[in-house]
């Protein structure tokens, strides 16, 4: 850990502690110090993003650290987004015809 923290961009100690807890809680490890530093940067960005969402949210939702806090928005979309559904033309909604399926 000491080696890792020396190699990252200057980050507040508090953030590094929060990131360490995130790693423990979600069982995350990174292959090398460069990757660790990269993920820590993304984590810091995402915490700021969560804070922004918290300020803009109109409901009672709470935003913060999640299992996806070390992923960029693009990575999150690529890993979990159903791109086929997203690419579907809005005018091409399919309506099933129940009667057709009922025929033997």
């Amino acid at each position: 850990d000491a080696l890792q923290t020396q190699d990252v961009h200057p980050q507040p100690l508090e953030l590094i502690e929060v990131f360490k807890l995130f790693q423990i809680h979600f069982n995350r490890s990174y292959s090398n110090p460069a990757e660790y530093a990269h993920r820590l940067d993304i984590f810091a960005h995402n915490l700021a993003q969560a804070q922004q969402l918290q300020e803009e949210d109109l409901g009672t939702a709470e935003f913060g650290v999640t299992p996806f806090s070390d992923l960029t928005e693009e990575e999150f979309g690529q890993l979990y987004g159903n791109q086929k559904a997203a690419k579907m033309n809005p005018g091409m909604g399919i309506k099933a015809e129940p009667e057709k399926w009922r025929k033997p």
Binding site: N46, P67, L79, G93, K95, A96
Partner: protein, 242 residues
């Protein structure tokens, strides 16, 4: 339409939270949750094979995304679906390795339908028939922890829907919850209506695998593709949501 509905309160209807891991198969997991719930409401509890829906789908690339209706068509083409226990989820689709014939069928469907894009109608169907699948914009879920998510269309584009989930109920926020989050006096309190949504990112995410989305403003495109299978024979049996 009742004021609240939560199918989780009925024992054995909602199967445990699934985890799609690195496979983009939300469409199959949402469809499986829908069939499992309807089968349990109408007959007996089952947990069905998501892996079969991936391996036996027409295109065979189930971990690269898909549509809920692809899952229903696969179940119809296979004349049913095996159990999760017999044909377990492996986190990756096996091209041209459909093993459906090897296992006993534990559930099947008659057909599937798309409901009107109207939240009141969706709530009515949910309360009287069972959980249904929807496709939403998942952007804000990356940072979601708990509570009712309410977003403007500029923050969560309702036209760009990219994640399939299962609606299992609806309700309204309590005064205690609203007061905890913001400065609301009991006199001016207006409860926030919400949907209860089952996700497929494991029980460690959100509210033990679930989240709540504001109801009544097409938040994140929830009304775009409301789909459900039907498991009954000829006569539509109406049930009552707890």
């Amino acid at each position: 339409v009742p004021s609240t509905c939560d199918w989780r309160k009925a024992a054995g209807i909602i199967s445990p939270i699934k985890n799609q891991e690195n496979c983009k198969c939300c469409w199959a997991m949402a469809a499986a949750g829908n069939i499992e719930a309807l089968w349990s409401i109408n007959y007996w509890p089952v947990e069905i094979s998501v892996q079969e829906m991936l391996d036996c789908a027409r295109c065979g690339d189930g971990c690269e995304g898909g549509f809920v209706w692809d899952a229903y068509v696969t179940v119809l083409n296979q004349s049913g679906v095996a159990s999760e226990k017999d044909y377990p989820f492996e986190g990756q689709a096996k091209l041209h390795r459909c093993l459906a014939k090897k296992y006993k069928t534990v559930a099947w469907i008659q057909d599937f339908i798309m409901l009107p894009s109207d939240e009141q109608e969706i709530a009515s169907y949910l309360a009287t028939h069972g959980p249904i699948t929807v496709t939403i914009n998942m952007k804000m879920l990356q940072h979601y922890q708990k509570g009712v998510l309410k977003a403007k269309p500029t923050m969560c584009d309702p036209q760009h829907v990219d994640h399939c989930v299962l609606l299992v109920g609806f309700g309204k926020s309590s005064i205690e919850e609203d007061i905890r989050v913001e400065t609301v006096s009991s006199r001016s309190h207006r409860p926030t209506p919400y949907w209860i949504v089952k996700n497929s990112w494991g029980a460690n995410w959100g509210e033990e695998g679930y989240f709540r989305l504001y109801r009544g403003a097409n938040t994140c495109g929830i009304t775009k593709y409301p789909l459900t299978a039907r498991v009954n024979q000829q006569v539509e049996q109406q049930v009552s949501c707890p």
